[in-house]
């Protein structure tokens, strides 16, 4: 889906390689857009945020070698700017509505594969709807972006322990729906015997 980047890309950029920056820009533009799009479909907010976040890589290139995990750092910078922007743009809502909540990770963004048997799929989809925005985001970062628990924690601004909790709670919630019918079938069989 994304072309891969060379492993020394950050080093190249920190030494002022403009072509390397261009490659990194295109790569992360796609990847971060996909992530940000889960929270908003406002193209202006997304574009502004992408430019702002990616610009920091170039303007701060001399400090890059000191950044422990530039990949995680960039994703979390992007998220921070986007959330700030979205909160600001939704001020009207806040003035009239009650809550000043966080931007929502869209409920329709996490889906169940079509090739799953339809009765089971329906149950899983039902279960997905009970997940919170943060649960959906954690699953996205872990299973779609392939990040480690430590990275997910850093990006979402929570502890690693909390990340474990969020993740297992979500997965077990899904698992529940999966095992329920199996249990009923067993009981039924026993009853017959």
């Amino acid at each position: 889906m994304y072309n891969s980047l060379e492993t020394n890309i950050w080093t190249l950029i920190s030494s002022g390689d403009q072509d390397a920056y261009a490659r990194l820009y295109v790569y992360y533009y796609k990847r971060l857009y996909n992530y940000g799009r889960k929270f908003t479909d406002d193209p202006v907010a997304l574009e502004d945020t992408l430019q702002e976040a990616l610009l920091t890589v170039w303007t701060g290139r001399e400090r890059l070698p000191q950044v422990d995990k530039p990949h995680t750092y960039l994703i979390s910078t992007f998220r921070y700017i986007l959330f700030k922007k979205l909160r600001r743009d939704h001020r009207v809502v806040r003035l009239t509505a009650v809550e000043a909540g966080e931007p929502e990770f869209g409920i329709d963004q996490l889906l169940i594969r079509r090739d799953i048997e339809s009765a089971l799929r329906q149950r899983l989809e039902q279960a997905l709807k009970t997940l919170t925005s943060r649960q959906r985001e954690a699953i996205f970062l872990r299973f779609y972006e392939g990040l480690s628990y430590e990275e997910v924690a850093a990006i979402m601004g929570i502890s690693v322990k909390a990340t474990y909790k969020i993740m297992s709670r979500s997965l077990l919630q899904l698992k529940e729906t999966l095992s329920l019918p199996i249990l009923t079938i067993l009981l039924l069989l026993r009853g017959l015997i």
Binding site: K30, R88, L171
Partner: protein
């Protein structure tokens, strides 16, 4: 967590343990990696775990996400905009030029060609900062007042017989001179206002576009299909929300909507006043009691100066206003 230390532990695992185990998840996330090889090997030695493992894998693999990966072109256009931003040095120029470059790429993303900027030699553009109002005279000497935090672009020269076109993001008030010569059009992201004679206010903020006509006659056409053209009479107000394609058409007292150009607001609700202050001074307001937003503030609120406006509000509302950086909290006394 490495495979070694987990050896043995996995034999006692059930489906819930597997799905919550990061090392197990890695198998699903990176099906080609060394982790996958390790698990495939482990499975050969633990056939009794086949059912549990299969169920756990199925569950994790059942989920997928809606994908919105932009094209290579979109990414390159954005890069070009950022490069331009980096290349230009003079501060005021930089602000304007990059904004337009960004706008161009954005609108292209949205699939509309009209926003593509022409050469800067033939185009004039202005961007106002927060709290800045700017009166402009267009090439045909029509008057335009650009509200704070808004941007406008138009050709430096308007040739006789050709449409007079303006592209606006934000809010502006127009007083248009003689319409007979050629048509006068104002484009926003979602709609175009064609002037058939007159003074009107366009407000493209927070995703919605609002048009209020003071005098004369204008025609609105929508960028996206779904709504047919609409002719407005004085006192008419329309609000278009592109997110839902909803169009509201009401009548109003135009002065209420155009008085900002004299830096005052007349007979507005607290919500409307705060919205103006937020847009124009770049502040965020928090109402401790959200129902206050509906509160009607009679008379005129001057917008000239933020402190004066806040003082007036605290008196009228009998409320305490506390400011912390850019956030102002309003708490009833």
């Amino acid at each position: 967590m490495t495979n070694g230390e987990n050896n043995g532990r996995y034999e006692a695992y059930g489906v819930p343990d597997f799905i919550c185990d990061p090392f197990f998840q890695d198998w699903i996330i990176h099906p080609e990696g060394t982790t996958a090889a390790w698990w495939e090997d482990w499975m050969i030695n633990h056939p009794e775990k086949n059912t549990a493992v299969t169920e756990a894998r199925q569950l994790l693999q059942a989920m997928y996400f809606e994908e919105h990966v932009p094209s290579e072109d979109a990414a390159l256009r954005s890069l070009a905009a950022v490069r331009e931003k980096l290349a230009t040095t003079a501060a005021p120029v930089r602000r304007i030029s990059w904004w337009w470059a960004a706008a161009a790429s954005l609108i292209l993303c949205a699939g509309l060609g009209y926003f593509i900027t022409g050469s800067r030699r033939t185009q004039q553009s202005y961007a106002t900062d927060y709290a800045e109002l700017r009166t402009l005279y267009l090439p045909d000497s029509s008057k335009m007042v650009l509200n704070a935090h808004s941007t406008v672009r138009y050709a430096k020269e308007w040739k006789p017989g050709q449409a007079r076109e303006i592209w606006l993001d934000g809010e502006a008030f127009f007083d248009v001179r003689s319409v007979a010569a050629s048509s006068f059009q104002v484009h926003t992201k979602d709609l175009t206002v064609e002037v058939l004679g007159t003074a009107f206010d366009i407000r493209g903020r927070r995703g919605k576009t609002e048009v209020v006509l003071q005098s004369g006659k204008i025609r609105i056409s929508f960028t996206a299909g779904g709504h047919s053209d609409l002719v407005m009479a004085p006192g008419d107000r329309i609000v278009f929300d592109p997110a839902t394609a909803a169009l509201t058409h009401t009548t109003t007292t135009p002065d209420k909507y155009t008085s900002w150009k004299d830096r005052r607001l007349t007979d507005a609700t607290l919500g409307e006043i705060l919205q103006y202050l937020e847009d124009n001074y770049h502040k965020t307001f928090i109402l401790e009691d959200p129902s206050m937003a509906e509160r009607h503030i009679g008379g005129v609120i001057l917008l000239d100066n933020l402190d004066d406006a806040l003082f007036a509000l605290s008196t009228v509302l009998n409320a305490n206003l506390t400011q912390h950086q850019d956030t102002i909290t309003i708490r009833p006394r």
